[in-house]
C-alpha cells in the first residue's frame, strides 16, 4: 500500500496496518497471499457450481442408462448395432465413426495440403495463383458452410439409385452413396495379407540396415524401390498366383435402393471431403512457410557439394522444413478431430451425434452425456498430441 494511507491510519491502528502493508510489500508473502486468495475463489466457484447442481438435479448422478436399449437407428455402423442395442453400444459406434472420419480426413488433408503448398511455391504463375485463390476462398469461409454446401451438392446433383452412375465395374455412385463390391476373403487370402504385413516389417528392417551400411561404408541402396517391391509387388504377385482368392459381394438394384456390397454414404463423403479440403488449405500454407524457412544457402551448399537435386530435397530441405512444419501440423490434426463433431449438422452419426445428441435427448441425462463426450474428445486430443510430440522429438534438431 502507498505510504499516504499508512500515515493517515497511523493514529488508529498503527501496528496492525504496518504489519499488513509489510506483508503486502514483501514479494514472497505477497505471492503466497495472492495464491491463497485465488485458490479460495476457485474453490468457492466450483463448490457453488456443484452445490447448485446437487440442488437442481432431482435425481441421482448415474451412468446406469448406458446399459438400457438406445431405441434409435444409426445409418453407418462398422460394428454390429441395431435399435435394441444399448446406449453404450451406440457410443462405441459413434466413437468408431468419429475416429474413421478423423483418420481419413487427416490422411487426405495431409496429401492435398502438401500438394497445395508445393503448388503455392511453384514458379509457374498460373498454378501459383490457382492455389492462392483456392486457399483464400477456403480459409475465409466457415467449415460448417463447406460441409453443408458439399452435402447439398452431393445429395442434389448425384442421380437417384435408378439411374446410378456406374463408375467402375460393380461400383455405383448415387445420391444415397457410393455402392461398392464388398470383398469376402477366402481362407487362403490371409496368406496374402500376411505377406503384406511381412513386407512392411521387412521394409522397416531393411531401411535400418541400409542406413547402418551407409553410415559405415557409404554404400547407398535404393531403399524406396525395394520397400515398394516388398510391400506392394510381392503381395500382388502372390494374389494372382493364388488365383485371386477373394469373392465379391456386388451391390444390386432392388426396388428403390441398392442391396449388398458396401456403401460410402453421402454424409460421410461430404464430411470427409469438406474436412480435408478445408484443412488442406491451412496445411498448404504451413508447408509453404516451412519450405520457405529453409534458407536458400542450404540448397546452394548442397548443390555445390555435387549432391543431386532429388537427394538435396530429400536429405537437406525436407528434414529442415519438417521441423518448422510438424508442430502446427499437429494442431491441424487436432482441429480435424475436433471439427469432425460438425457431423451433427448433416446427420453423420459421430460421437457428438450419438451419445451427445440423441442419447442425451432421449434420456435427459445432460451432465452425464456431455461429460462422456468432452472426456472422449480430450482423450483423442491427448493421444494425437502425444504421438505428434513423439514424432517432433524424433525429427527435431539435435543440438549439443
Amino acid at each position: 500500500m502507498s505510504i499516504g494511507t499508512a500515515v493517515d491510519n497511523k493514529s488508529s491502528v498503527p501496528a496492525r496496518r504496518n504489519f499488513v502493508s509489510r506483508l503486502w510489500n514483501d514479494k514472497e508473502t505477497r505471492s503466497v497471499i495472492i495464491q491463497i486468495i485465488a485458490l479460495a475463489l476457485m474453490f468457492a466457484f466450483f463448490a457453488s457450481l456443484i452445490n447448485n447442481a446437487v440442488q437442481n438435479l432431482d435425481r441421482s448422478f448415474s451412468y446406469e442408462f448406458l446399459g438400457q436399449p438406445a431405441n434409435y437407428d444409426i445409418n453407418q455402423t462398422l460394428i454390429e448395432y441395431d435399435s435394441r442395442s444399448s446406449h453404450l453400444r451406440a457410443m462405441y459406434v459413434g466413437i468408431i465413426n468419429t475416429l474413421l472420419v478423423a483418420f481419413c480426413g487427416i490422411v487426405l488433408a495431409t496429401v492435398l495440403g502438401f500438394i497445395l503448398g508445393v503448388l503455392r511455391l511453384s514458379k509457374n504463375w498460373l498454378t501459383n495463383k490457382i492455389a492462392y485463390v483456392y486457399i483464400e476462398y477456403v480459409r475465409n469461409v466457415p467449415l460448417l458452410l463447406h460441409i453443408l454446401l458439399l452435402h447439398g451438392i452431393l445429395v442434389h446433383s448425384l442421380p437417384r439409385p435408378k439411374n446410378a452412375l456406374n463408375v467402375a465395374d460393380g461400383a455405383f455412385l448415387t445420391n444415397r452413396g457410393l455402392f461398392m463390391p464388398k470383398p469376402l476373403p477366402e481362407p487362403i487370402m490371409w496368406a496374402v495379407i500376411g505377406l503384406f504385413i511381412a513386407g512392411i516389417l521387412f521394409a522397416f528392417l531393411f531401411r535400418r540396415w541400409a542406413k547402418k551400411v551407409q553410415d559405415e561404408t557409404g554404400k547407398i541402396y535404393p531403399v524406396f524401390w525395394i520397400s515398394v517391391a516388398a510391400i506392394v509387388v510381392v503381395p500382388v504377385i502372390a494374389f494372382f498366383i493364388l488365383g485371386k482368392p477373394v469373392a465379391w459381394d456386388t451391390p444390386e438394384l432392388k426396388g428403390f435402393n441398392f442391396r449388398g456390397g458396401m456403401v460410402v454414404r453421402p454424409e460421410f463423403m461430404a464430411l470427409w471431403f469438406a474436412l480435408s479440403l478445408y484443412t488442406a488449405a491451412f496445411i498448404g500454407e504451413i508447408v509453404r512457410a516451412g519450405i520457405l524457412a529453409v534458407s536458400h544457402g542450404q540448397t546452394e551448399a548442397s548443390m555445390a557439394l555435387g549432391i543431386s537435386r532429388g537427394r538435396t530435397l530429400n536429405l537437406v530441405v525436407i528434414p529442415q522444413a519438417l521441423r518448422v512444419i510438424v508442430p502446427p501440423l499437429a494442431s491441424q490434426y487436432l482441429n480435424i478431430t475436433k471439427n469432425s463433431s460438425l457431423a451433427l449438422a448433416i446427420g453423420y452419426m459421430d460421437v457428438t451425434a450419438t451419445i451427445g445428441g440423441i442419447s442425451l435427448n432421449q434420456t435427459g441425462r445432460a451432465i452425464e452425456c456431455m461429460l462422456i463426450v468432452m472426456g472422449l474428445y480430450l482423450l483423442f486430443s491427448l493421444l494425437i498430441s502425444t504421438f505428434m510430440n513423439w514424432y517432433n522429438n524424433r525429427i527435431k534438431l539435435v543440438e549439443r
Binding site: S31, L39, Q55, N140, L145, G152, H156, N339, I367
Partner: protein
C-alpha cells in the same frame, strides 16, 4: 531523333548513341510469359494443365452464376422457367431476413444506427490520420454500451427479446463481442500461464488445455442444455448471453496460446531490464513486454479473430438463426425448396468478404509495425 531511324543512319559522337529498345522477346508480356509460364518442361506441363483446368471450370461456372442465372424470381419454380442456371431470386425476397433475422420491422433503424456507429468506431480506431482521433477514441469506449442499449432496448426504447436476433446481424454481434472480449481475457490467461505463482499458472494451464481439447460444439451444448443446472435455482440466463460467454472463453484459450508464443519471443533481458529500472510487474508488462509480444503475435491474433468469426456459424446447432440458419429455413420453405448450392454460396460470399478484409488489414498492420531490418 525519331525521324532519324527511317533515313540513313545518322552519325553519333562517341557515347552519344541513344539506348536501343531491348530485343522483342526479352521484354514486355512475351518475357513475362516465357519466365512465368514456360521456363522449363515441368513449367510448360503445369501451364497446360492449369489452362485445361480453367477451361473446364470457368465457362460452366460463369454461365451458371451469371449468364443462365435468374435474379428476379419469386420462387424456385419460376426460376426453372426463366433459366437453367443458378436461382438468385431468394436474395431479393429474403435479404431482410438474412440481414436482421426476426427483428421487429419497425425497430430495424436501431440496428442500422448501431451498425453505422460501429463503422464509425472502426474508422476512428483503424485510421491513424483521422481528424480529432484523440477525442473520438473516448467515444469508442462508450460504443459497446450505446450499441447494447440500441439493439436490446430498454430505457425508453422498446425492448427486443434476443431470440428475435438473427442473420448477419447475429454473426456481427457474436463476432464483435467475442473479438472485443477474448483479446483482454487471452492476454490475462497468457500472462497467468507464464506466471511464477504455481497455483495461478496451473489453473490457467488447466483452463486453456481443457478448452483447446474439446470442440466448440460441445461447449455450446453445455451452454444450451447443462448450464442451467449449475446456476442457482430460478436464475435465468439469456441463451445469447450464454453463447457469447462460451464463444469468448473458447476464443480466449486459443488467443492465450498465440500470445504466449509472442511472450516467449521477447528476450528475457527485457523483463530483467524493466525489473532493474524498478518497474512493478504490471508496469513492466504494460510498457515493455506486451507491446513487443503483441506486435509479434498480430498474425496469430487476427487468425484467431477470423476463426471466432467463422465459428459463430455453429450456433445453428443449438437453434439460433445466424445466416446459415436462415439459409436452412429458406431451403425448408416450400417456394425455395431444391438445390441448396445458391443459398449457401450467398452466405459464403458474406463470410469471405468480411474475413478477407480482416486478413488484409492484418497484413497491412504487420508491415506498418515491422520496424526491424527488412531484407
Amino acid at each position: 531523333m525519331n525521324n532519324a531511324t527511317n533515313e540513313s543512319p545518322p552519325k553519333y559522337e562517341l557515347g552519344a548513341h541513344p539506348d536501343l529498345p531491348p530485343p522483342f522477346a526479352t521484354s514486355g508480356p512475351i518475357k513475362w510469359i516465357r519466365e512465368n509460364l514456360l521456363s522449363s518442361p515441368t513449367n510448360i506441363v503445369l501451364t497446360v494443365l492449369a489452362v485445361f483446368f480453367l477451361y473446364k471450370i470457368i465457362p460452366g461456372l460463369a454461365s451458371w452464376v451469371f449468364l443462365d442465372a435468374t435474379f428476379d424470381a419469386a420462387s424456385r419454380n419460376e426460376c426453372r422457367e426463366l433459366g437453367s442456371g443458378a436461382c438468385w431470386g431468394f436474395i431479393k425476397h429474403r435479404w431482410e431476413l438474412f440481414t436482421y433475422g426476426f427483428y421487429p420491422v419497425d425497430q430495424r433503424w436501431r440496428v442500422i444506427l448501431a451498425f453505422l456507429l460501429f463503422v464509425f468506431v472502426v474508422v476512428v480506431l483503424l485510421w491513424e490520420n483521422c481528424p480529432f482521433r484523440k477525442t473520438l477514441r473516448w467515444f469508442a469506449i462508450g460504443f459497446p454500451f450505446v450499441a447494447f442499449w440500441l439493439i436490446v432496448g430498454g430505457l425508453g426504447l422498446e425492448s427486443v427479446p434476443t431470440d428475435k436476433f438473427g442473420g448477419f446481424m447475429l454473426t456481427l454481434i457474436i463476432g464483435i463481442t467475442g473479438i472485443a472480449l477474448s483479446l483482454p481475457l487471452g492476454i490475462l490467461l497468457a500472462l497467468g500461464r507464464q506466471s511464477n505463482l504455481p497455483i495461478i499458472k496451473y489453473a490457467c494451464i488447466g483452463f486453456i488445455e481443457f478448452i483447446r481439447g474439446v470442440p466448440l460444439i460441445t461447449l455450446l451444448f453445455v451452454a444450451s442444455t447443462m448450464l442451467s443446472y449449475f446456476l442457482p435455482p430460478r436464475v435465468e440466463f439469456d441463451l445469447l448471453l450464454r453463447v457469447l460467454i462460451m464463444v469468448t472463453l473458447f476464443a480466449s484459450a486459443y488467443m492465450a496460446e498465440v500470445i504466449r508464443g509472442g511472450l516467449q519471443a521477447v528476450p528475457k533481458g527485457q523483463t530483467e531490464a524493466a525489473d532493474a529500472m524498478g518497474l512493478k510487474y504490471w508496469q513492466s508488462m504494460r510498457l515493455i513486454v506486451l507491446p513487443q509480444a503483441l506486435k509479434i503475435s498480430i498474425p496469430g491474433i487476427v487468425n484467431t479473430f477470423i476463426g471466432l468469426y467463422k465459428d459463430s456459424t455453429l450456433v445453428i446447432v443449438i437453434g439460433m438463426f445466424d445466416p446459415l440458419g436462415i439459409a436452412q429455413a429458406t431451403l425448408a420453405d416450400t417456394s425455395w425448396q431444391g438445390p441448396s448450392t445458391e443459398v449457401y454460396l450467398f452466405v459464403a460470399v458474406f463470410f469471405f468478404i468480411s474475413c478477407f478484409l480482416m486478413a488484409k488489414y492484418s497484413l497491412y498492420l504487420e508491415n506498418k509495425l515491422h520496424t526491424g531490418h527488412k531484407r
